[in-house]
């Protein structure tokens, strides 16, 4: 599973999202995930490809279909459901 998280520098919700996501992956997919973190403040053009309009935004790039979720990812159950594609 390949994940891409768009954030905005050290903003509080971005930091929360990183921490929450890492915890979920290590708990549920310890050996089968690949996480890319993209800082939109440093690379604004990267968001254009994925049509990002707010941060933080999480994208499940692979396996398809692409799923996306916004916010600080504090609700673990909702994050797992989104990643499962339902």
């Amino acid at each position: 599973m390949r994940l891409r998280l768009y954030i905005a520098g050290n903003a509080p919700n971005s930091l929360h999202a990183i921490a929450n996501l890492r915890a979920i992956c290590e708990t549920h997919f310890p050996a089968s995930h690949e996480l890319e973190i993209v800082d939109l403040l440093a690379h604004p053009q990267r968001g254009l490809v994925d049509g990002i309009i707010v941060t933080p935004t999480l994208l499940k790039v692979h396996p398809l279909p692409v799923q996306r979720m916004v916010g600080s990812l504090g609700d673990t159950k909702q994050v797992l459901l989104t990643l499962a594609g339902t």
Binding site: A8, H16, P44, I52, V54
Partner: protein, 688 residues
């Protein structure tokens, strides 16, 4: 197509769900940044919100903690915001104020004014004025109101900001301050003490009415003048040194002399302190001035009454002292009379008429000598008493032999001391001191009686009173020590205070030591005390030695008369007993005429009778010796110059003044015959 249509629908649903989730996240504050649709760059959301929140928080804190009441009134005249302080001032809850028309808080009759003020704000006018509001309880709230118009981003008037400062409490504080100042002013003006404030250059900054009155000015006339102008020229050095001492922090009271407008002296005691400004720099002095003219007079009176009290205390002792020798005189004289009548009438068994002459010499000589010795003792006692009974105005200072004076005082206090202690005398050789004998005698007596009273009665063998006299530099030091219980340290400091006494009521006046202190200080000496509880107390008097030049050579008591000169002597005295004995004694060597009054003497002399010497009593009823002298000085000056005055004590001021003239010869009563004869011989020889 249906497939593609389905997919399209599905896409739309998914996008809607994502948009909804994004809005939810935005609303719940989980979004950091939004990508701007035009610039395609992220805009930090949290920053703006956070800064806004902080800024709001800051203003809210200011508004809520402000000491002013703050309100916003909208364009319609409704209160749209009120802070906590405003609610407090108005006596309502915030919720009751917000939404209410402003007029609710304006007292009846003030509505039009309030409306005009809001209208001026609408026109863009900011202002500040005193405005009265009405509290919930109906009471007036006096405020200082500042208003300023509020406009929105487009410059439209949306309301008025008002800030209120409570003037009620301001006024109360102002009033309290004014009252307290008035109170101080009242105290300052009502006090019986003068109060003066001087600046650092001793110019008068303030005087109260009392001081102005003391010096004969209006307070206004004194302000701004150099205070030195109100100080007696004689005391200006003292004034300047006292001022210098104040500057160094000295606070001790100073006795000095001010100058009244009319040029007279005003004796004052000044307690003062330096004033320092906020930075601790010397800014002047404050003085509390007390007129001590009255106090000084009172003190002089107290001194007299203390002396009277001392004499009263000692009267019993003196009577006792005189009674013993007097009894001896009477008994011896009775014995002699009896014996003599036995010889004459032959009624006594023992003395045979055959041997009267030898018997007289052998048997009667003893009683006669005893009687004379007893009489001599009485003479000493009377002489001691005279030391203490000088007139109070007697301020004359003369060389005083403190050892002789102490012996006199010891004899006077004998009755107080005898039962309590034995006296140890340690006298060193000392020159005379420059003092007033009567007053120093009073001091000695006081110290001796105090020492005696410190000791319990009935153990004379155990207790001592030690009297030391010695020379220390140019001071004669007199110490009176007792072996009594001592004085506790807390009492020692007050011991010289007037009316301070540890003796039971009725035993002491509490004035003795205060007055003694004053007497000694007045004579340029010092009186100090040292005491150890359980060991005893020592009072120490130091008095300045008489400058050598003033010491008179002691006159020899007796002169060896080589050759007796015969003279014609007139005796004038109103006491027949004294007249008879003088006549009897002097008739052996001289021609003696005696008269019982000054007027008889005057008529005798007016008839042209002349004498080599006139022995005349000073104080006599009708015409005194002084008056006779005055009369003779006019009519027969040569005879006037031959007068010698017999004085039993110069108790009046006139008599003192009269005898102070060194050309006036005098013989003190009581006198012994040997001295009297010698003096007469000396005069007769001088005039021969």
């Amino acid at each position: 197509m249906s497939h593609s249509s389905d997919r399209h629908t599905h896409d739309l649903e998914r996008q809607l769900a994502e948009a909804k989730a994004t809005i939810d996240a935005l609303l719940s504050g989980e979004i950091d940044a939004v990508v701007d649709s035009e610039s395609k760059t992220p805009v930090m959301l949290a920053d703006a919100q956070h800064a806004l929140r902080e800024s709001e928080e800051r203003y809210r804190r200011i508004v809520e903690t402000a000491d002013e009441g703050i309100a916003i009134v909208d364009a319609a005249g409704t209160v749209s915001f009120a802070n906590r302080r405003l609610a407090e001032l108005f006596g309502y809850r915030i919720a009751e104020i917000v939404g209410a028309p402003l007029l609710k808080f304006v007292p009846a009759g003030g509505e039009a004014i309030a409306a005009r003020r809001l209208a001026r704000s609408h026109e863009g006018i900011s202002e500040e004025e005193e405005v009265v509001y009405r509290r919930r309880d109906g009471s007036e709230l006096r405020t200082l109101l500042r208003t300023s118009p509020i406009r929105d981003a487009d410059g439209q008037f949306v309301g008025t900001l008002g800030m209120l400062t409570d003037r009620t409490s301001y006024r109360v504080a102002e009033e309290a301050l004014r009252k307290s100042e008035a109170q101080y002013r009242q105290i300052v003006e009502a006090t019986s003490d003068g109060i003066v404030q001087l600046d650092d250059g001793h110019l008068v900054v303030f005087v109260n009415g009392r001081l102005a009155e003391m010096l004969g000015y209006d307070a206004g006339e004194m302000i701004g003048r150099d205070f030195l102008g109100f100080v007696s020229p004689a005391a200006q050095t003292t004034f300047m040194s006292a001022l210098a001492s104040r500057k160094r922090g000295g606070r001790e009271p100073v006795e000095t002399i001010y100058r009244h407008r009319d040029g007279t002296d005003v004796s004052v005691s000044v307690a003062g302190a330096a004033i320092f400004d906020g930075e601790g720099r010397f800014a002047g002095t404050l003085g509390l001035v007390r007129d001590v003219t009255e106090r000084n007079k009172l003190q002089a009176q107290l001194m007299v009454s203390d002396r009277m009290a001392s004499i009263g205390t000692l009267a019993a002792g003196v009577a006792h002292e005189i009674n013993n020798p007097l009894a001896a005189v009477i008994a011896n004289l009775d014995f002699i009379i009896e014996s003599l009548s036995g010889i004459v009438h032959g009624t006594t068994a023992s003395p045979a008429p055959a041997r009267p002459a030898s018997w007289l010499c052998g048997e009667i000589r003893g009683p006669i000598d005893d009687a004379r010795e007893a009489a001599r003792r009485m003479r000493f006692i009377v002489r001691d008493l005279k030391v203490f009974s000088h007139a109070p105005s007697d301020d004359v200072r003369a060389p005083v032999d403190v050892r002789a004076l102490m012996d006199s005082s010891l004899r006077m206090a004998e009755n107080e001391i005898r039962h309590r202690a034995h006296v140890v005398k340690q006298y060193g050789p000392v020159p005379p001191v420059d003092a007033n004998e009567a007053r120093i005698g009073q001091v000695f007596l006081n110290l001796l009686v105090n020492a005696a009273q410190a000791l319990p009665a009935g153990h004379a063998e155990r207790n001592r009173i030690i009297v030391r006299i010695r020379l220390a530099g140019d001071q004669v030091v007199i110490e009176v020590s007792d072996t009594g219980p001592g004085i506790p340290p807390e009492v020692v400091g007050r011991i010289f205070d007037a009316f301070f006494t540890t003796k039971p009521v009725g035993v002491g006046t509490g004035l003795g030591l205060a007055i003694s202190h004053r007497i000694v200080t007045d004579m340029g000496g010092a009186l100090t005390v040292e005491s150890t509880v359980g060991k005893g107390t020592t009072f120490r008097v130091s008095l300045p030695v008489t400058p050598a030049a003033v010491v008179e050579a002691a006159r020899p008591e007796e002169e060896a008369t080589v050759e007796k000169v015969h003279g014609r002597i007139l005796l004038v005295d109103d006491e027949p007993m004294l007249l008879r004995v003088l006549e009897r004694v002097l008739a052996l060597d001289h021609d003696v005429v005696s008269v019982g009054s000054a007027s008889e003497a005057q008529s005798l002399l007016a008839r042209g009778d002349t004498f080599d010497l006139i022995l005349c009593d000073l104080m006599m009823p009708n015409m005194t010796g002084m008056e006779l002298h005055a009369e003779l000085s006019r009519t027969a000056p040569e005879q006037a110059s031959r007068m010698i005055f017999l004085s039993g004590g110069a108790f009046t001021a006139a008599a003192q003044e009269f005898l102070a003239d060194p050309s006036r010869e005098r013989i003190e009563k009581p006198f012994d015959m040997l001295n009297l004869r010698a003096t007469i011989q000396r005069h007769l020889q001088a005039r021969a």
